[in-house]
């Protein structure tokens, strides 16, 4: 009639999962924490992208449009550009912020243009205004494009290759505020995911330790002829399952989200494809058993849920430190970092999302390190269950 410790651990595992699945509060916690990352990122990105699009859809007030009909026609053909009649006093209008930018085409334009001399265009803008700078840039870009296009045509007409005229090709790397914010948000992904893994574990980790003590069910449970290690393992595996569940939801939502978020509008070359998703899961899932083990160890010292939760909230803040440090000042990646839990996940995840090539062996070793540590912590937790102060102390 005596069953093996493994069978007993599985019995405990099934019971804890069943118990957890009926606990509405802990399920809601898991769902909310899994929605946190995709939700925040989705909303922020969409907002940033729409702001960016506002810049691209630009209305240009022009004074003296009649002086350059060809230029105005060309402008009107550019996507997202609308030409309106400019105010009489351009400088006053910009100074009082009625307009972000006004283009003034002087009378000399037609004469100079026809004579192939540089024709003057005046861009009236307020350089001290942060908000209007992208728009001014965009308008300036339009004229520069026109300028080089006409220049090239003139060279071609004289039998010269336009390439001769450009000594440099300049590639723009945008670091305007929208992009910066987007990049920073991407940097927060690992942090959000750790939170999901942590909160996903909390329900069972507290209920099956401090909860057993608070309800007074621990004595009856320990009287069963099952070794403490089997009981602790069953609870641990159940907690790991819910923690992984939470990470999987987060991963799936992020994956779905990045198929829709208009990242290209922000000029960001970021992709969350199947390969990245795979790397993401291979990085984070092995951390779950360790998170659960540590939570259980800590929560076993607590006599009640409340006590356990206050201990765990400290733990949660502690686990966020590596992520915070990494986002705030990017440390140079050193090899040892991969093999320290949390720091390793943070570094690895940054690599995965940044599309760096990674040796698959690194995943295996990082995962093994986590699981070995988790087993050590769980053994220590099983050891705690032998202490009379833990079993009877209330």
């Amino acid at each position: 009639m005596k069953s093996s410790p493994f069978t007993q651990a599985m019995v405990v595992f099934r019971k804890e999962l069943k118990d957890w699945s009926r606990d509405r509060r802990s399920i809601i916690t898991v769902l909310i924490s899994s929605l946190l990352a995709p939700g925040i990122i989705g909303v922020m990105f969409t907002q940033l992208a729409s702001r960016q699009r506002q810049v691209e859809d630009v209305t240009v007030p022009v004074v003296g449009a009649a002086n350059a009909p060809a230029l105005i026609d060309w402008l009107k053909q550019q996507p997202g550009v609308e030409i309106v009649e400019g105010p009489a006093d351009a400088e006053e209008a910009v100074r009082t912020r009625r307009e972000d930018v006004v283009v003034v085409i002087p009378k000399e334009f037609a004469k100079d243009f026809a004579a192939s001399r540089p024709a003057p265009i005046r861009l009236v803008a307020d350089g001290s205004s942060q908000n209007t700078r992208p728009k001014v840039q965009r308008v300036r870009g339009l004229f520069q494009a026109y300028s080089s296009q006409i220049g090239s045509l003139r060279l071609l007409a004289r039998g010269v290759s336009p390439a001769v005229a450009s000594a440099l090709t300049i590639e723009d790397v945008e670091v305007s505020s929208a992009q910066q914010r987007a990049a920073m948000l991407l940097g927060f992904i690992p942090l959000f995911v750790m939170i999901a893994a942590f909160t996903g574990a909390m329900g069972i980790a507290t209920d099956s330790t401090a909860g057993e003590r608070e309800r007074g069910s621990i004595e009856a449970l320990l009287v069963n002829p099952a070794p403490r290690s089997a009981l602790a393992s069953g609870k641990w595996i159940a907690g790991t399952a819910t923690s992984m569940f939470s990470v999987l939801i987060t991963g799936a939502l992020l994956y779905a989200l990045f198929q829709y978020v208009p990242l290209q509008d922000l000029g960001i070359r970021f992709r969350l494809g199947p390969a990245q998703l795979g790397g993401f899961l291979a990085t984070v899932l092995p951390l779950c058993p360790l998170i659960v083990a540590i939570q259980m160890y800590v929560a076993t010292f607590a006599k009640s849920f409340k006590e356990a939760q206050s201990y765990l909230s400290f733990l949660m803040m502690a686990q966020m430190i590596p992520g915070m440090m990494a986002t705030m000042n990017s440390m140079a990646t050193k090899v040892w970092m991969y093999y320290v839990p949390w720091i390793g996940q943070q570094t690895l995840l940054t690599d995965v999302l940044g599309n760096k090539p990674i040796n698959p062996l690194v995943f295996v070793v990082v995962g093994l390190v986590n699981i070995i540590l988790a087993v050590i912590v769980i053994r220590a937790t099983a050891g705690l269950l032998h202490r009379e102060r833990i079993i009877f102390g209330r």
């Binding site: 005596k2 069953s3 019995v11 118990d19 057993e212 004595e219 009287v223 002829p225 009877f392």
Partner: protein, 251 residues
């Protein structure tokens, strides 16, 4: 059969159990009687192996419980001092959970569970979550899960504490039934009536020491008191502060 020899346990300066020796034979009900704080629960906790004695021997059937706690637990069914339940599980699930931990599965588990539910008159509430259970229903659930594996030795720590008349009767019924099946039943109580109604042997314990033992008649004879309650009071040396503990001993 349970044999305890010269058991000692101290907490700091307090000698909670101080040289307790007794035997609880098969097919008999043995009662540990004593006022609150006498050392009954501590004795039982050592017996069901969750507490290590400082000194002394505990033998369950032929297994030394101090050397092989797990072997001893295989032979025990225990209703501990703290018998908390899992509020989101049903009564049936509690019984099945403990049955499975004991290695009972499938049809065997189902029939045992059904049998216990019937015996304890719990069929109507079997599939309800225990969160809304009354104290009596909780105790019955805890008792059922403790004996689902049909243990040879049953330990019950104050099983009728705080129960109403009907539940008390059900528990007594179970104890008698276990005895008739040849099991060893050892239970603790501070209620005189309870012990005298059920026990073949009463062990009176006070300040961690056994002050008397024997059948209810033996105890009356030893103390020269006709009334068992008076005998108890005389034995446990409580005469001086009788009134303080009076509520625990209905007349």
């Amino acid at each position: 059969m349970i044999r305890i020899e010269n058991l000692h346990k101290r907490f700091g300066e307090v000698r909670a159990v101080d040289g307790v020796t007794f035997t609880a034979p098969d097919g008999a009900v043995t009662g540990l009687l004593g006022p609150n704080g006498a050392g009954k629960t501590t004795t039982l906790r050592m017996l069901y192996t969750l507490m290590r004695p400082d000194e002394g021997r505990i033998v369950v059937d032929d297994v030394d419980a101090v050397v092989d706690p797990q072997g001893a637990r295989l032979r025990l069914g225990v209703l501990p001092d703290q018998s908390g339940l899992y509020p989101r599980l049903t009564a049936r699930e509690h019984i099945e959970y403990f049955g499975e931990l004991q290695g009972i599965t499938g049809a065997d588990l189902r029939s045992r569970t059904e049998h216990l539910l019937k015996m304890l008159d719990m069929t109507a509430i079997a599939d309800r979550r225990v969160a809304g259970f009354s104290h009596g229903e909780r105790t019955k659930t805890a008792l059922a899960r403790a004996i689902v594996h049909n243990p040879k030795n049953v330990l019950l720590d104050e099983p009728t504490n705080g129960l109403d008349v009907m539940s008390t009767r059900a528990v007594r019924e179970i104890i008698r039934r276990l005895k008739n099946e040849g099991q060893t039943v050892l239970f603790s109580s501070h209620v005189m009536q309870e012990v005298s109604a059920l026990c073949d042997t009463i062990i009176v314990i006070a300040h961690g020491k056994i002050v008397a033992s024997g059948s209810p008649d033996d105890l009356r004879r030893q103390t020269g008191q006709e009334n068992l309650e008076d005998a108890f009071v005389a034995l446990s040396g409580l005469a001086a502060d009788h009134s303080a503990d009076a509520e625990g001993m209905p007349s």
